[in-house]
């Protein structure tokens, strides 16, 4: 029913001589939540960080195969990585607000993209914070340093920061791993809400979380894509034995 926005074909990622991702092929549909699960070190974060080429920052790495986003191969020679990252936002494992005011954190993406209009910025910030479910908590103290927020609020601020420049895809790398259960619940509600407008790919360690929030689940192990399917099916009748063993907690 949904058109695919990300299309990965025969994609491999090397760290030095080590092949971390092995010939992965995968489509990701627009306006759905796709979760990537798998044991530690299986390459799920590496895969996620290929979608906005954050792995470019790591020396001594190379890729094979293609990732198309909006039908454009993001690893093609003529691709502007800066443009790509504007289109593919990211929320990191640990909340990483900048040591600036709450306002300036959300405004950052707009300012570096050359937006000067103050009303426009203020409007975007309000919308971003509302979308991230943070507006009511911070509207009276937008000038406070973002580092004074709680961990959960910081993470939702990072979501607001990513949303302010209106990306098409939002990547989340274990966004709740540093949060307490209540903050996690809020973040999960937010993710479900966000899929109305955005395509979301989330890496998570927490299988219940994947089951609760995602439409599609992808299971990776040792750099290989083992299974991809509707979340309801993966968690009730996985087609591979090893997937069943992982989600029932027999290893990992």
């Amino acid at each position: 029913m949904n058109s695919k926005i990300v299309s990965i074909k025969d994609f491999s990622f090397y760290y030095g001589q080590n092949k971390c991702l092995k010939n992965i092929s995968l489509d990701i549909a627009a306006r759905e939540v796709t979760s990537i699960i798998g044991p530690s070190g299986c390459g799920k974060s590496t895969l996620l960080r290929c979608f906005n080429r954050m792995n470019d920052l790591i020396p001594n790495t190379r890729v094979e195969g293609t990732i198309h986003i909006d039908e454009k191969n993001i690893y093609a020679a003529d691709v502007d990585v800066v443009d790509l990252r504007r289109k593919v936002g990211m929320v990191f494992q640990r909340p990483n607000p900048f040591p600036k005011s709450i306002f300036e954190n959300v405004a950052y993406g707009l300012r570096i993209n050359g937006v000067k209009n103050k009303e426009f910025i203020a409007d975007k910030i309000e919308k971003g914070l509302i979308n991230a479910g943070l507006w009511n908590e911070v509207k009276d103290r937008l000038r406070d340093n973002a580092l004074r927020l709680s961990g959960g609020q910081q993470q939702r601020l990072c979501v607001a920061r990513a949303l302010a420049i209106e990306p098409e895809v939002v990547l989340m790398d274990e966004p709740a791993s540093a949060l307490d259960p209540i903050a996690t619940a809020k973040l999960e509600e937010l993710i479900v809400e966000l899929k109305k407008k955005y395509t979301i790919v989330i890496v998570t360690h927490n299988m219940q979380q994947a089951a609760r929030i995602s439409d599609i689940t992808v299971f990776l192990m040792q750099g290989e894509l083992i299974e991809r399917g509707k979340t309801s099916e993966i968690f009730t009748r996985p087609s591979k034995k090893i997937t069943e063993e992982y989600i029932t907690g027999r290893f990992g």
């Binding site: 800066v82 936002g89 990191f92």
Partner: protein
């Protein structure tokens, strides 16, 4: 019984352990106090407004040390003009842009080693490069540039450490929002590294201000009738003046108070520079946390 014995043993270990560390600290404080007491007590008589604002008179046996203060300040300014932008730029390139490979590792090691090269070597290099090859002659400019070269490894290393202190997540967060690398550095790395960069730089400059060897052959003069009129004039400098007054002067006992006075002024200027580094860092850090 056994337990109390063990806790008694721990108590003594702790007592002597801390005692030893305290002693180390005390020894350093005692040495510092002795030096300061010696300088201050022997220079107290000569320190006055006139001492700071007048030219030397009667073969430097009377009068003030104004030319040496002016000379040292001017040379330090030239030093800063050369080493601050160049050092910070080099550090930014090394830490943010340069790939980690054998070449950059070699460059880093060389820079660290340069900071250990004796200052007299820099002095001779300064003569060869600035005075002779570039025909600048012995002057403020040559000395300042020589000291600038000497300070560069310090500035680079301090700036690089400050940049390393900025968490990787600030850079990643900014890049992930579609910032270019330069935008990221300018808006999300430098603001948080500048306090540390400035502190390290000022400490380097303070050290340069007290150096004698690099200015000895490149521009510092024994005695001059007036203040320098341009950067291409020779100059008098506090550390060199101090050296002359305590070893070369014809009336060495008579000018001893002047030598001590010079020492006090020099130490005070260095102290003030270090203090300003601390105050600057404090204010920049505070501004960042608001």
């Amino acid at each position: 019984m056994n337990l109390s014995k063990r806790s008694q043993k721990k108590f003594f270990e702790q007592f002597f352990g801390f005692g030893f560390l305290r002693l180390c600290m005390l020894a350093i404080i005692v040495i510092l106090v002795i030096i300061f007491y010696d300088i201050i007590s022997k220079s107290w008589g000569v320190i006055s407004w006139e001492f700071l604002t007048q030219l030397p008179r009667k073969g430097m046996t009377e009068g003030g040390i104004l030319p040496t203060i002016v000379g040292t300040v001017l040379v330090t300014i030239i030093t800063a003009v050369l080493s601050v932008p160049l050092g910070m730029g080099c550090a930014i390139y090394l830490n943010e842009y340069a790939k980690v490979n054998k070449l950059t590792r070699l460059i880093r090691i060389s820079i660290r080693n340069l900071s250990g090269v004796p200052s007299i070597v820099y002095g001779l290099f300064g003569v060869a490069l600035f005075v002779e090859m570039m025909h600048l002659g012995t002057c403020i400019l040559s000395s300042g540039l020589t000291l600038g070269l000497m300070t560069l490894p310090w500035t680079i290393t301090a700036s690089e450490e400050a940049l390393k202190g900025v968490p990787m997540s600030y850079r990643e967060g900014s890049l992930a929002l579609g910032a270019t690398q330069w935008q990221t550095i300018r808006t999300n790395v430098l603001p948080y590294a500048i306090p540390g960069m400035l502190t390290g730089t000022i400490l380097g400059l303070a050290r340069a201000a007290g150096e004698t060897a690099p200015i000895l052959f490149t521009g510092a003069a024994f005695s001059l009738p007036g203040l320098p009129k341009s950067l291409f004039d020779q100059f008098m400098a506090m550390p060199y003046h101090l050296y002359i007054m305590s070893t070369q002067h014809h009336a060495i006992v008579k000018v001893r108070p002047i030598a001590y006075g010079t020492a006090l002024v020099l130490v005070s200027i260095v102290f003030l520079m270090n203090l300003s580094a601390i105050i600057l860092r404090y204010h920049l850090r505070k501004a960042r946390q608001e």
